[in-house]
């Protein structure tokens, strides 16, 4: 057995257990069997307390396997369906504990269809619409709305006529025409039909029958058997609504409920039930996701849909963006018959047992149950009121087993309730609420949103959870619009959210705040003093991956704007545009900005961001310039394979020699760069900047590179660095490599054009290579580029910021430039035609991208206060 599953109890039955359903509040378990029974167990004494027989037949028949079960949320009804093409509703009474545990169970109604639907594989009850929906073998989806209202209505109608009971129909049906085409004699009605009796509490006839009306049948809902139906938690409906706006009735519906069906045809479909005030219910198709292999089982833990497929794979979809996020494989390539997800832990049942996917680990657990046919997770309430997650599994050997999920990953729930509670406490006069901000940052830090690693699926899932968390956070904080923007190639989605300022303000500005939620991999965890995924506060500092780059500053910005909005003091519109791929060079970000420009804003006045740190630990800074970058790789390779320096040395023209000759021509001995026209538009810094730099050099307590000269070189002059050198072959000292490559990183300054430098570089390297008349080949690859950026430190925004920073820190900020690059800053400026302003948040000791990343809480809260004051003044 395994640490992950702890056996609580095991029951045995003679036939397969095909379906299970738990009633945690009534402390009951129901199990549907292959031999037409529903077994009832209680979880107090672990006894089998009742056996429900389908129909009145005493004889054992193996024909009406109970393939699926569901319950109403109030646990007063149980729904069963299966191989007999019938749906039954059972009323479940209160549990009595006088001598033995007992519960009263009555069959309320049998629902049938006059079409030949075959087996019913899946059933779901939608409480808010009293609608029962089930998926069948003939690929049709059937539903019956207002079930209990219909039941009560039946009392007075002729529907209860015994002649219409299925028994009568049954006899006629099987009585086929004889050889002459004439009917055989009508079989006498069975005397065993039960007398109609009244259940006084419910005022509902027992043994009523209901027929599915013609327009409640969706023929060919799929092109294969419909194996599963999931219900989407109503909490997340708004995310889908914009998506399903194709269905016109969704807009003005009273109630919308989404279901997700999975089928043997390899697709998953999302449907919406729409109910109006007259109790009319209609079903509309929304969208389809292609899983390529039979979908046998499904579970939803928003925003993810998990599909168990026929080839042993679990395919995970992000429902908020309709992107396939990941595909996990069980060790045994057989059908995933049942699938349950709890806190991001996936329990996939197939013939070899249960495969548990947890935090990137895969564990196969043999449950000794033959082949598992059904499973389900429910939260059992213990005697002390504590909640224990339990897994219930049924096998083809007739075993039903209850497990404790003892070793659970502490997956992050989308639980914003603590925020809502604290948020409403915020006082009208308060500018920042650091406790709330810390809570949000704590949640964000727990998502390990590493964007560089693409093969580790758990990072991808965390990133998407984080994106959904942010989307929900914005909505909770009162953003008028908050949605996820999918990025192509299934990269992490971006989020856009708008806080609308005072409607009466005629001179409203629109401010775009840019941030990113992805982080650099924490690396070797042993080299951290604290757990990088848990926000730890020590000595006035917060520690954890991403606290400084960029989750901390982002939280400051969100909370300051949300606080203004909450207090009805927000004068300007603020749009948050948060991406999840900054650390890998913002792929697809420009396209998304252009595509959703109408949502983000046609007219943007200021772009603001906080994506760097101060130059020291003492002086607040404002940043107005960044260098650009061109990263490139030059490779020289030969047609001859790796060879021996003794055998071939002196004969061959060697790629290594070639590349060194080329590279040596890139720079003079004084480090100046020899690429033609490289310095053409590089200006010397003016007197004003020189004074500014020497002031910084004097005041700032920089650990290194602190002299004025060094600042000028680092911030305003281009540079060329050779960063990687590699050769093919085993690395043995006597082997002549077949190919050699050198990586370089060229930093550019304002005035230089990325495109022309790029072209000149490629041409120059080519020319140098041609002069060698080598038999080898040359390849130059540009890896990524970013434009240099220079803001105007004299503009309004910088001046207002300067004033507010001075107030908050009691000292004037330093106006600085930086040697680094942020690719998206020029992208944003160009697309939205607005000037960018960059406000460093943390100190030079923040260790961004390194071990023990940290951010001083004072910087974190002052940042929020500064922004709180600045936003309205712009």
């Amino acid at each position: 057995m395994s640490d992950s599953l702890e056996l609580v109890h095991k029951w045995s039955h003679t036939y397969s257990i095909l379906s299970t359903c738990a009633f945690p509040h009534k402390k009951l378990l129901f199990a549907g069997t292959q031999d037409s029974k529903i077994l009832v167990f209680d979880t107090v004494t672990y006894n089998l307390i009742k056996i429900l027989h389908l129909g009145q037949s005493i004889e054992v028949n193996t024909r009406s396997s109970v393939l699926c079960l569901d319950k109403s949320k109030d646990e007063n009804s149980l729904f069963s369906a299966g191989a007999d093409s019938l749906v039954r509703i059972w009323s479940i009474g209160e549990v009595t504990n006088t001598v033995d545990t007992d519960v009263e169970v009555n069959e309320l109604v049998t629902i049938y269809s006059v079409t030949d639907i075959g087996d019913i594989f899946s059933i779901r009850f939608i409480d808010s619409l009293e609608t029962l929906v089930f998926g069948c073998q003939n690929a049709s989806l059937l539903y019956l709305d207002n079930v209990f209202k219909r039941l009560k209505g039946v009392l007075s109608s002729a529907e209860s006529n015994a002649n219409r009971l299925p028994h009568r129909r049954y006899n006629k049906f099987f009585d086929s025409n004889g050889p002459t085409g004439s009917a055989s004699p009508f079989l006498p009605m069975e005397s065993s039909i039960e007398k109609l009796s009244l259940d006084e509490n419910l005022e509902i006839l027992t043994n009523t029958i209901l027929e599915i009306p013609s327009n409640n049948i969706v023929n060919y809902a799929h092109n294969g058997f419909i194996y599963s139906i999931c219900e989407l938690d109503s909490q997340f409906k708004d995310l889908l609504e914009s998506d399903c706006s194709g269905c016109p009735p969704v807009k003005d519906a009273t109630i919308c409920e989404y279901i997700i069906t999975g089928s043997g045809d390899g697709t998953t479909k999302i449907w919406v039930f729409v109910g109006d005030e007259n109790n009319d219910v209609a079903l509309y198709f929304c969208k389809m996701l292609d899983c390529e292999d039979s979908v046998l089982s499904q579970d939803v833990e928003f925003p993810f849909l998990y599909c168990g497929l026929g080839d042993g794979a679990v395919k995970i979809w992000d429902l908020s963006t309709n992107q396939s996020v990941s595909t996990l494989s069980t060790p045994v390539k057989s059908d995933i018959i049942s699938l349950s997800v709890y806190n991001d832990c996936i329990y996939a049942a197939n013939e070899s047992g249960i495969t548990l996917f947890q935090k990137g680990e895969v564990e196969l657990i043999n449950t000794h149950q033959g082949k598992i046919l059904s499973s389900g997770i429910f939260e059992r309430i213990g005697p002390n009121g504590k909640v224990y997650p339990n897994l219930l599994t049924g096998g083809n050997d007739g075993s039903l087993t209850l497990w404790n999920l003892s070793c659970l990953a502490c997956g992050k729930d989308l639980n914003l309730t603590h925020l809502e509670e604290n948020w409403s406490d915020s006082k009208q006069t308060q500018k920042v609420n650091t406790e709330n901000m810390l809570n949000t940052l704590k949640d964000l830090t727990a998502f390990e949103t590493v964007s560089q690693v693409t093969d580790g699926t758990s990072f991808g899932l965390s990133s998407r959870r984080c994106a959904t968390y942010l989307q929900q956070l914005f909505a909770t904080l009162g953003a008028s619009q908050s949605r996820l923007l999918p990025i192509s190639d299934s990269l992490n989605p971006a989020i856009v959210a708008t806080f609308t300022g005072n409607e009466k303000n005629n001179d409203k500005r629109r401010i775009l705040w840019y941030g990113h939620y992805d982080v650099i991999h924490p690396g070797d965890r042993d080299r951290w003093n604290t757990d990088p995924s848990i926000l730890t506060c020590e000595n006035g500092y917060m520690k954890g991956r991403g606290v400084s780059d960029n989750k901390g500053p982002l939280v400051s910005a969100i909370h300051s704007v949300a606080m203004l909005h909450k207090q009805n003091k927000l004068e300007n519109d603020v749009v948050f545009l948060i991406e999840g791929n900054e650390e890998i060079g913002s792929p697809g970000f420009a396209e998304v900005c252009k595509k959703y420009k109408n949502i983000i804003g046609e007219q943007i006045d200021w772009i603001m961001l906080s994506n760097s740190t101060w130059v020291d630990t003492v002086h607040p800074c404002l940043n107005y310039g960044l260098r650009g970058v061109i990263n490139a790789r030059v490779t020289v390779y030969s047609d001859v394979p790796d060879s021996h320096s003794g055998v071939n040395g002196g004969i061959l023209q060697e790629p290594t020699t070639d590349i060194i000759r080329i590279i040596s021509k890139l720079q003079n001995d004084d480090d100046s760069i020899r690429i033609p026209n490289f310095y053409d538009n590089v200006k010397d810094i003016d007197q004003e900047e020189l004074i500014r730099f020497s002031e910084i050099s004097e005041m700032a307590e920089m650990e290194k590179n602190g002299s004025t000269e060094e600042l000028i070189k680092n911030w305003t002059k281009p540079s060329l660095s050779l960063t990687t050198l590699c050769t093919s072959g085993p690395g043995n000292i006597t082997v002549i490599p077949r190919s050699a490559s050198i990586g370089m990183s060229i930093r550019l300054v304002p005035g230089q054009s990325v495109d022309s430098v790029k072209e000149n570089l490629q041409q120059y390297v080519k020319d140098c290579f041609e002069k060698l008349s080598s038999s080898n080949h040359l390849k130059v690859k540009i890896l990524n580029v970013a434009e240099p950026w220079l803001g105007d430190p004299k503009n309004d925004a910088y001046q207002i910021l300067k004033e507010e920073i001075t107030k908050a820190w009691n000292m004037q900020p330093l106006f600085v430039r930086e040697g680094g690059s942020i690719p998206c800053i020029r992208t944003l400026e160009r697309i939205f035609e607005a000037p960018a302003v960059q406000i460093p948040c943390g100190q030079s000791t923040d260790n961004c991208h390194l071990y023990n990343e940290n951010l001083r809480i004072k910087n974190f809260s002052n940042m929020a206060e500064i922004l709180y004051n600045v936003i309205n003044r712009l």
Partner: protein, 350 residues
């Protein structure tokens, strides 16, 4: 009253479990008096055919093994032994009551072309009026392939030509054209026949619909249609059953054991083989059923004869009169608990 049966299994089955042993196997159906619905033709005595794809990989190329005879199936000693000693995971079987063409082995179904195998239950009405058009339409190689004189074989030639024009080479010895190509070609074939017969109809005589239940396989995928060129009449009967295994519960009596959702055994038949009503589901009229690996797919055939209303009651008089309506057999003990109503024409009015 022709009958056909298709078996596709994850594991091979002994042919006798399909053909000779079950009390209601198609061989036995051909003489079982209880089921003799066709008042015109009492028995399916005009020959039979069995095609099966061998288990042995070396043999399983370029077509199935075929056994045909013009003697009534129930009297054939060879069939008896063969069925007892042969196993296969893909079987096509057919018993014939001739509608077109003389009694000869070349007219017996199934028909094969390299790895493709084909059967037909039904008939193309006024085939003689569209035969020339069909012959002009198809390539010579498929025209020359036709050896017999039945409408069914020409329909097969038309299918091969359609598959060819779809971009597949029907001569491919391994078959495996994919379920989409097979289904689309079959649908196109049906469409040709439908359009041509409609155009050829002069209006002089009463309109008689064509019954086009076709079954086709390329050795891996199976596609079966249930189709009629009428909006009001029922098509010839067609049922399917699937489960974990096909077991003999008592001599001659079989049932489909369904332990889980796996479709390890899939059968499609004109008439159910077992006495368990719950084992069989009717294929809807004017639709096509596909067996892709061990998964059943169902697609509607949407044209002018498609009925949108799922509860529309088609008349079964035509097919009953022509002997194309199979019944569900009644077992010894009738289970009281209610399979639902079925409107496959097996229901009498009060």
């Amino acid at each position: 009253m022709c009958r056909f049966l298709i078996f596709k299994g994850k594991e091979p089955i002994r042919l006798s479990h399909l053909l000779t042993r079950p009390a209601h196997s198609i061989i036995n159906q051909s003489f079982d008096s209880r089921l003799r619905l066709d008042t015109r033709r009492p028995m399916n005595g005009d020959g039979f055919g069995v095609a099966y794809y061998p288990e042995d990989q070396e043999l399983d190329v370029d077509g199935p093994c075929m056994f045909k005879a013009i003697t009534p199936a129930w009297n054939n000693q060879n069939l008896e032994t063969l069925a007892e000693k042969t196993k296969s995971d893909l079987v096509f079987a057919h018993v014939r009551a001739s509608t077109y063409g003389v009694l000869s082995e070349t007219n017996c179904h199934p028909f094969t072309y390299h790895n493709i195998c084909f059967m037909h239950n039904g008939g193309i009405s006024n085939f003689n009026k569209i035969k020339r058009r069909l012959l002009n339409h198809i390539k010579d190689e498929y025209l020359n392939y036709v050896q017999g004189s039945t409408d069914s074989e020409f329909a097969f030639a038309l299918f091969l030509d359609t598959l060819d024009k779809f971009g597949c080479d029907p001569k491919q010895v391994m078959g495996d054209f994919g379920h989409v190509a097979l289904r689309q070609s079959l649908l196109r074939t049906i469409e040709y026949i439908k359009d041509w017969t409609k155009e050829a109809y002069t209006g002089d005589e009463p309109w008689e619909p064509s019954l086009l239940n076709f079954a086709i396989t390329d050795g891996s995928t199976v596609v079966v249609s249930r189709y009629i060129t009428s909006k009001t009449d029922e098509a010839a009967s067609l049922h399917f059953s699937c489960g974990s295994s096909f077991v003999e519960s008592s001599p001659g009596e079989y049932r489909m054991e369904r332990l889980d959702r796996n479709q390890d055994v899939i059968m499609v038949a004109s008439e159910p083989l077992t006495f368990e009503r719950g084992d069989w589901t009717a294929v809807p009229t004017n639709s096509v059923l596909t067996i892709k690996k061990q998964t059943i797919l169902m697609h509607p055939i949407i044209d002018e004869y498609y009925q949108q209303d799922p509860l529309y009651l088609r008349s079964s008089t035509l097919v009953e009169n022509r002997g194309f309506m199979g019944t569900v057999p009644v077992g010894k003990s009738v289970e009281k608990n209610v399979p639902p109503l079925d409107r496959e024409g097996r229901l009498r009015q009060l």
